[in-house]
């Protein structure tokens, strides 16, 4: 009995984006999640960011829906201001000791009015705004904190430390302050633990040469981010701290605290190059005249679509990229900063800048070490949780998984991928049952209102003095009383308080209300609560409307009480007008087939298939080649000496023997029909036999292919080979005859230029790996590497250092001056080649007679991606790779529900990254497959067939393929399962054949026409 509950719950430590994602995925699979977070809010690092690369998406805009989803999910139990102190037991039955610290504010009473913070006399540096703003001892972590209730920092509270003050208690209108609150220790029994403890920025205070401690105009990247943020302390208006002047020149110094073995940071922080590029672009958008320069060693724009972003910064925003090391910074009298920097050739230059941004690297959080000790986990050399090759999301302790940047630097999508991936791994210790939300609704029977005349109840909230201090709420309530169809109107002190919610339910009963309007704060936070309340009283939850008279009225017009009151009246009248047209909406159940289709039998496809099959689902694994393995068959070594082929062999064996997996090799997808939960796919085998498979989800793992180059005399002599061929050569010891004196490697063959404006990501590490392997086997060989930027991101940096320390020579070439190659014995099929290139250090041409020239050729998208994309109705990016729903937060999903992507089909990535993404795709698919039904949203589009002329504009504008023209009837048909309710199709329908439930044309019309705007005569322009 007890074991059962454990196996149905997971503890997630850390509520940043990775923790949130892991929690949501688990909860959607029916698992109870204990989300334990140290700070008073969920959100982690993302809320501190202004924009995100490479799309310049607003960080808060994309995060906040996930935050609210997380807080509202019934299966996610949030433990804020809490810490995990220890774990005992075995995987599947772990006992976790958690301490919840005292908050001193009763969250059930706090209404987040902010009076306490206003009155609190203790001013402190704000952590969220990296000390650029002051906060109080009682506060919210940041303005949009979730949960939104206030908490007291006990170490700063005057009463708690010195026994005096109690001001907050005096002003609190709801009596929420509780100085007697105590820390609590609880034990949670869970099946698995996922660590998502995140990462810290490097503190540059220790690096003297950058004068961070002494010059106020030298800031860290995170500080600069807060400056850029529109909701930050400077409102997005960047100024120098020294004189309040807007900078006109800006220098970014890269690798501050990264790639520096001197301070035990011999790894690349992976995200800082892109972060600096983003900041330079955003800063330039804020300040049109700004000249930004980035001082770097290598620009590591290795992610999907990153190089295009880099190119845009350089060529559209005029950002200057300078490959040089900054040796010193001197503060000038006017506060400007003179940089002394050294080029590769040793020459030194000095240049003054108005401001300097230190692109600080990422490092483990200080608590990590203590946590590792108390949880008995191993750390790597740099203090990150240690994971192993082939097991990228596991820690050293079974049943404890890690995601996000806690085991190595990651950007946002990688964190999200690892979070979902960790869920798939954790699932192995869990007991999964298929959920049926359609039957789980335990709401009271709903009152029938269709056909009844609207009977509207209006509740106008004081929100203490938040609204009532400005708006005459009694007057507003009285006005509402007089509106047509309003049966009842009253003002209430706190509409959201438990007792008031009861009042609302009573009034529904007393007055037979069938529509409820609450005039209070914002529906974005409170609509769900009120909907739930009226639902408890027997009304369909959609019969509710809110007028936002606090956030968008009383708080914004504090000096104009009369006008704020009349605005409130209008807003209430508009809400009542809308409410009259509200209809009960139903969330239709859509059944989900438990089977899954995985397209592609490489490592990614097999991993995803295994995770799904292990979770109890029948999987069809379709591979067009005759055998499984894909590109993995060509990976023959790993940095750490582990054997990829052994791993591959085991994986293939597991796949082939798994009874939940049916492997179809030599098979091609011919047709895909249906939608989430209900796909049917026509598969054709090598002998043209066809078969129709039905399944609930699809995972696309079609891989990539090695670019076929014609550059560098490839194909004209056996001595010019690709890295893949070279790897095989190393493994089989089939080198060309004679001594291997000189081996030259050329990077970026086909990548980062022309039609492939992307980095193939793995080639630098692969070249380093093979070079090190060569050195093992042919110690005497000279290794020369010609590259543009060396992109050995993350912990691969170590091996690059090792290679260079061992004497390999690295030359940097520019795309307009690539290495030149000539045959030394033309006509000889085994001719050696002479490679000439510019040595940027010596600034002269070097000529190498190479016994072997190894080309790092690009990873191409398979051409037939476009055929599959069309069948699945999912998009490709300009490089022909599958384009996910959102590059940041939905990295393995497609906009079309029920279809997921992983591995090289998504973008170039290495083996461990592919593994993590495949696990993530499996977990994301499980969030659907673990349900017998899903409920379509109530707010979706609907068609009036008699008005539809079948012009298909709706089909064209729908981002989710949720509406189509029926080929027989020739009218639009909405797929309830796929529709997200944005209404783009509705507004694009000239015929008025489409409408959006909950935001119908009729309702919006009524709102527009709700106010009687008296014609104003005799007033002219003022």
């Amino acid at each position: 009995m007890r074991e059962n509950t454990a196996r149905k719950s997971v503890l997630v430590l850390g509520a940043g984006i990775a923790g949130i994602q892991a929690s949501l995925d688990l909860a959607e699979m029916g698992i109870t999640v204990h989300l334990v977070e140290d700070t008073p809010t969920i959100g982690g690092r993302m809320p501190q960011l202004d924009k995100t690369f490479p799309t310049n998406d607003c960080s808060m805009c994309i995060l906040s829906p996930k935050m609210s989803e997380c807080i509202r999910h019934p299966l996610i139990k949030l433990h804020i201001m809490s810490s995990l102190e220890g774990i005992s037991g075995e995987p599947g039955d772990l006992k976790c000791r958690v301490i919840e610290r005292a908050k001193y504010v009763d969250p059930s009473k706090c209404v987040s009015c902010g009076l306490c913070e206003e009155k609190c006399p203790v001013k402190l540096d704000d952590v969220f705004d990296v000390s650029l703003r002051k906060t109080k001892a009682i506060s919210r972590y940041f303005l949009q904190s979730i949960p939104s209730e206030y908490t007291i920092k006990r170490e700063h509270c005057l009463y708690l430390t010195k026994g005096v003050c109690r001001l907050c208690e005096k002003v609190c209108p709801t009596g929420a302050i509780d100085y007697e609150d105590k820390d609590r220790e609880i034990e949670l029994n869970v099946g698995a633990v996922i660590l998502a403890t995140g990462i810290d920025p490097f503190d540059p205070i220790s690096i003297g040469q950058y004068h961070y401690h002494s010059s106020v105009n030298v800031v860290t990247a995170l500080e600069f981010e807060r400056m850029l943020s529109a909701s930050g302390p400077l409102g997005g208006h960047v100024v120098r701290a020294s004189d309040g002047r807007e900078p006109s020149t800006l220098a970014f110094i890269q690798c501050v605290g990264s790639r520096d073995s001197g301070i035990n940071r011999n790894y690349c922080s992976s995200a800082c190059c892109m972060f600096a590029i983003k900041q330079s672009i955003i800063a330039r958008e804020h300040m049109k005249e700004l000249k930004a320069s980035i001082f770097y060693m290598d620009i590591r724009a290795f992610g999907k679509d990153f190089d295009k972003y880099y190119d845009k910064a350089e060529n559209k925003y005029g950002v200057r990229f300078t490959r040089a090391r900054v040796a010193d910074i001197i503060e000038l009298t006017d506060g400007s900063l003179e940089l002394k920097y050294t080029f590769e050739n040793g020459s030194i230059q000095r240049e003054a800048f108005d401001m300097v941004v230190l692109s600080t690297g990422l490092q483990p959080r200080p608590e990590t070490r203590g946590l590792a000790e108390s949880l008995d986990l191993k750390l790597n050399d740099y203090g990150f949780f240690r994971s192993k090759t082939f097991l990228p999301l596991e820690t050293s302790r079974p049943g404890v998984f890690v995601c996000g940047a806690a085991n190595g630097p990651k950007d946002i999508p990688e964190s999200v991928v690892s979070a979902s991936g960790a869920v798939a791994e954790a699932a192995k210790y869990l007991e999964l049952d298929r959920q049926d939300p359609a039957t789980q609704e335990d709401a009271p029977p709903e009152q029938q209102v269709t056909g009844e005349r609207p009977r509207v109840g209006v509740f106008v909230c004081h929100c203490g003095i938040n609204i009532a201090g400005v708006v005459d709420v009694k007057d507003v309530a009285a006005m509402a009383e007089g509106l047509q169809n309003v049966e009842h109107s009253e003002d209430v002190v706190y509409a959201c308080s438990t007792d008031c919610l009861e009042v609302i339910k009573q009034r529904i009963e007393e007055h037979g209300l069938n529509r409820v309007v609450v005039a209070a704060c914002t529906p974005r936070t409170h609509e769900p609560l009120f909907r739930e309340t009226i639902n408890e009283a027997g009304l369909n939850p959609y019969l509710f409307e809110m007028a936002n008279i606090r956030d968008q009225c009383s708080w914004a017009h504090m000096e104009e009480p009369e006008l704020a009151t009349s605005k409130s009246k209008d807003l209430v009248e508009m809400a009542v007008a809308k409410s009259r047209g509200l209809h009960p909406l139903e969330r239709l159940p859509i059944s989900i087939d438990p089977e899954a289709l995985v397209i592609g039998g490489g490592l990614s496809g097999m991993t995803a298939a295994l995770d799904l099959a292990d979770a109890g689902h029948q999987v069809y694994l379709v591979e067009k080649e005759d055998e499984l393995g894909g590109n993995m068959r060509d990976i023959l070594f790993n940095f750490d000496g582990s054997d990829p082929q052994e791993f591959l062999g085991k994986t293939i064996e597991r796949v082939q023997s798994h009874k939940g997996i049916r492997v179809l090799t030599g098979a091609n997808i011919r047709e895909v029909n249906g939608y989430v939960g209900n796909f049917s796919t026509l598969v054709e085998d090598g002998e043209s036999r066809t078969e129709t498979l039905t399944h609930g989800a699809v995972i696309v793992a079609t891989g990539g292919i090695e670019h076929r180059t014609s550059e560098y005399l490839y194909g004209e002599t056996t001595r010019v080979v690709t890295q893949t061929e070279f790897e095989r050569m190393l493994k089989d010891e089939t080198f060309p005859a004679g001594r291997l004196r000189n081996v030259v490697m050329v990077q970026c063959v086909g990548s980062r230029e022309g039609e492939r404006m992307y980095c193939s990501r793995v080639c630098c590490s692969k070249a380093v790996k093979n070079a090190l392997e060569l050195r093992k086997r042919r110690a005497g060989a000279n290794i020369y590497m010609a590259c543009r930027d060396i992109r050995t991101y993350g912990f691969s940096e170590e091996y690059y250092t090792e290679l260079r320390d061992g004497g390999a020579l690295v030359f940097r070439y520019k795309p307009d001056r690539k290495p030149e190659v000539e045959l030394m014995s033309p006509g000889d099929p085994d001719s050696r080649v002479r490679v000439s290139m510019i040595d940027p250090v010596l600034e002269k041409e070097v000529v190498i007679d190479a016994d072997l020239l190894v080309l790092a050729t690009a990873i191409d998208a398979p051409e037939d991606n476009s055929v599959l994309a069309k069948m699945l109705k999912v998009p490709l990016n300009s490089d022909g790779m599958f384009l996910e729903a959102h590059v940041k937060l939905r990295p393995v999903d497609f906009a079309t529900e029920g279809i997921f992507v992983c591995g090289l089909a998504h973008s170039p990535k290495d083996m461990n990254e592919s593994l993590a993404q495949s696990m993530a795709a499996a977990a994301r698919a499980l969030t659907f497959l673990q349900k017998k039904t899903i409920l379509a949203d109530g707010t979706i589009a609907e068609v009036r067939k008699d008005r539809c002329s079948g012009c298909a504009y709706c089909e064209a504008v729908c981002a989710y393929s949720a509406i189509e023209i029926d080929p027989e009837e020739k009218v639009a048909v909405v797929n309830d399962a796929l529709c997200k309710g944005c209404g783009a199709c509705v507004a694009s329908c000239r015929c008025g054949a489409l409408d959006l439930r909950g935001f119908s044309n009729r309702q919006i019309h009524a709102v527009i026409g709700a106010l009687d705007i008296e014609a104003v005569e005799g007033v002219t322009a003022t």
Partner: protein, 347 residues
Amino acid sequence: MVKLKKNELDRLICRLAGSYDVYAPVDIDGNVEFARVSSAEDMDQSRTVTNLSPKEIFFPKDEVLFEYDADGIRPADSMDRPIAVWGIRSCDTKSLMLLDKVFGSAIQMPKEERFQDPYWKKRYDGALLFGAACAEPLSTCFCNWFGGGPFATEGMDVHVTDIGDAFLLNPVTPRGEDYLESLDFTAEVSESDRKAAAEIAGSAEAVMSPPVPIDGLDQLLPGLFLQEEVWGEVSAACINCGACTFVCPTCHCFDMQDEGRNEKGRRLRVWDSCMFPIFTSEASGHNPRSLSRHRVRQRVMHKYSYYPVNYGEYLCTGCGRCITVCPVNVDIRRTLLKLMTHDGEDG
């Protein structure tokens, strides 16, 4: 009969304007239609057939029937002056008589149940109509099919003939006669005036093509009702633009529309057209005339069968406006001929 010198016309108009709202043909941006005038100078009497018919004077394109609020219903502002029209042709005065049968007194009803539209009656009953003789009938004129002619006087109070330098004003009704008697600036009509008028009448008659006998059409049409093919044929070119119904002096279908919010608003009556797909769309969503041919059939049936069955004459005066205005040259005369000569067998 009296004579009015052309230079005295303005005097007449001004005098009329003293107690009537006076309407006459006016050139508005190249379109000649009936509009309010205050002097003879505003008028353009050159057209035999105006672009728009004068029915709009008595049956506006849109009119507010009443306004309402929480306190009840208020009738729309009522006009207090009677209407006078100058220069209205016989096809149009005839059309007003046809419309009056509908709005003024529904004669198929028992007397006590007869509905009289107050909005129509208020305008039409007291109106004073100075009709104009047609000296130059057009090739599209076919009033003679319906018993009319260029010098017909039906529906007029005064019949006016332009004889060059003067108008001959001939009273048709007692109301017309009374008004003419009240004028002190008219002249005696001479024999040569009469002769001139007769000559004009004669040559006008001569221009008209001989009428096509359409007696019995109203009885014939119901038999064709279900013959889809013939309706398909006569409606093939029609693009249901509805322009014919808007310029027609006898079309009188209307739609009721309510405008308002909360507890106040108003009810309007606006012109409608049987050519529009929505015309017979029912609340259930069913539309018995969803196809073009059925709407064309409705227009023909209404004018040449249903109305005659109810009221004893065709709902068409042969003004020819629908022929002139049609962008695809659907000619009602050809349509009627086609239907009359149809062999009665479908397919």
